[in-house]
Symmetry: C2
Subunit: 336 residues, 2 copies
């Protein structure tokens, strides 16, 4: 079997998970190195890794470079991405700098693997909330054509990175001990709270955040349909890992709950958890550490013609980031 | 000043708060008694109260009876409500047994006080999430006519009652101490989780929960417009107190964000918290212990004609229940 030289750029929450999942998924590794701002030693699951400074030459001889796109590595793909491509390395970027770049395919392997054809060595991983929504919406879209959806998200702190995970943990421990909470990762405490702002304000769309606008732009690019209307409210909740989303969808053609359930039962990477009477529905603690996206609460929505409502939960660090990035590389190896 | 004989039926999370708010709001009390299933002593804010068994005769001579409608008092208004009315007492019921009864006005005093005219002694308090949404939607509806809205809720455990508050507290403490969590109040742990089921399945609307259907039915009754379409997903989040809601609204006529902000700045019982760039937006920890409902994230939604999106947070035990009930009595006293 052919094996590959792989590097991971940035070693925050997503970077560490890429390293873990490469092993877990038995990715055909010849060598795995980590690149970051400064040289140091890093231990992941008891295994020591050498972290080398991220510089253009570091990509010589590499087959794949995963840019984790969070924390210390923010912006690394901007300065180093095309340098890596120049050296014959395929870049898979989890960050948001190139997702809307027309040279760069934006790929969820189960949904639009055809976008990988004739790639130029640089592939973008969509936003975590977008990937999780796409996993259930794309199979339905193919059958009944989505005209619009409203997405309200319940996003976990792991999406912000490891400092935010520690902050929720610290805040809850402080609360339990009767000590004051430290507030740094978010503008307000996240423990026992909901923060309806993810990302930053978008200049040309007053009132909207980058996270909300990404959902619309990326959906259109992934589904190849610029007419789909997307209205999102993205909010952070005190959950460690696993993003949830309430989706209210309007189709061009009829889509019964029964038909939607059939389609989703057959959809790759999706698990249907939908038995309300018996308390079966998607929850983030079940989605966390799962490679599939959970969908439930599937019901016809009489509020709009051909309406359907559903609730999804997915591991934002796995399928929403690290896993999807690795799946892209796997697809390329398999000759998509 | 005329004073009134008042009783509170049921002394869970809402009942206790009715007692507290009657004092806080300086309600003109002649006497305040508590009725519940069994006789006992109850201490609220250091003050002892005699709890008498709830029976028809207990309402003799009473001017107002607040049925708290939670926990031990569930269903009390069904067996005792009209008995109290027969004895000349005005019943204000926080439960959901009579909200859709055509004999019973469903009232948010800032929104539809006219519904109190010619009441028959029995008035219903709407559902907490409905009240909080109505506080901001009704003033906008009057100007531009709502055709449809999608509401996705982020509801606090206090809405379930005191046992659920204790359960979130216990689960978080267990987590901090590395002990297993007890799961009783909800079908799944609520700590660090999201539970997308509130209430129970509705028989004639497959897939929908009672909480979701209430929002549509009660909205139509309060606004007196049976054509309004409402699509709700209601979910519980690990927040102690304060319900939040993402609202995506479609109006019949234009409604700019600027105009909406002006209207809401002038709306009674509403505080506008809307400055995204400076991290000003509604959060439940700010809404808790506030008699006003917070609204922010006000933005035009190009996903639909005359669309507007907003985010609200309100104290579900206060404005969502106890406070609204007391305001109804105050309105009646003032001669609505």
């Amino acid at each position: 079997m052919k094996t590959y030289e792989v590097c991971v750029v940035g070693i925050g929450a997503v970077g560490a998970e890429i390293v873990r999942l490469l092993k877990r998924r038995k990715f055909p590794l010849k060598r795995l190195i980590i690149l970051a701002r400064a040289e140091r030693r890093e231990v992941i699951d008891g295994e020591p890794y050498t972290v080398r400074p991220a510089a253009p030459d570091a990509f010589e001889g590499m087959d794949f470079a995963f840019f984790a796109g969070t924390e210390g590595a923010k912006g690394a793909s901007k300065t180093l991405g095309w340098e890596a491509v120049k050296r014959g390395c395929v870049v898979i970027d989890n960050g948001d700098d190139f997702r809307m770049d027309p040279r760069v395919p934006l790929v969820v392997p189960e949904i639009n693997p055809e976008a990988l054809r004739q790639h130029r060595g640089f592939i973008a991983n969509p936003n975590c909330s977008t990937i999780i929504a796409m996993m259930v919406l794309a199979p339905l879209h193919r059958v009944a054509a989505i005209r619009r959806f409203v997405a309200c998200t319940y996003q976990a702190v792991s999406g912000t990175g490891s400092a935010a995970i520690r902050e929720l943990e610290q805040q809850v421990r402080a609360w339990a001990a009767g000590r004051p909470m430290t507030v740094e990762a978010y503008p307000r405490p996240i423990a026992f709270n909901v923060i309806p702002k993810i990302g930053s304000p978008v200049e040309d769309e007053p009132g909207w955040t980058t996270e909300e606008v990404k959902m619309r732009r990326e959906t259109r690019k992934i589904l190849g349909d610029p007419s789909i209307r997307v209205s999102a409210t993205t909010a952070r909740v005190p959950v460690f890992n696993g993003h949830s989303e309430a989706l209210h969808v309007e189709f061009a053609r009829p889509m019964s709950a029964r038909r939607a359930r059939e389609i989703l039962l057959a959809a790759p990477g999706v698990t249907v958890a939908d038995d309300l009477a018996n308390n079966v529905f998607p929850v983030p603690i079940d989605a966390s550490g799962q490679d599939k996206v959970l969908v439930g609460r599937i019901r016809e929505d009489p509020g709009v013609e051909h309406g359907l409502a559903l609730f999804v939960a997915g591991d934002n660090v796995w399928k929403g980031a690290a896993q999807n990035a690795i799946q892209i590389a796997e697809k390329l190896i398999a000759g998509a």
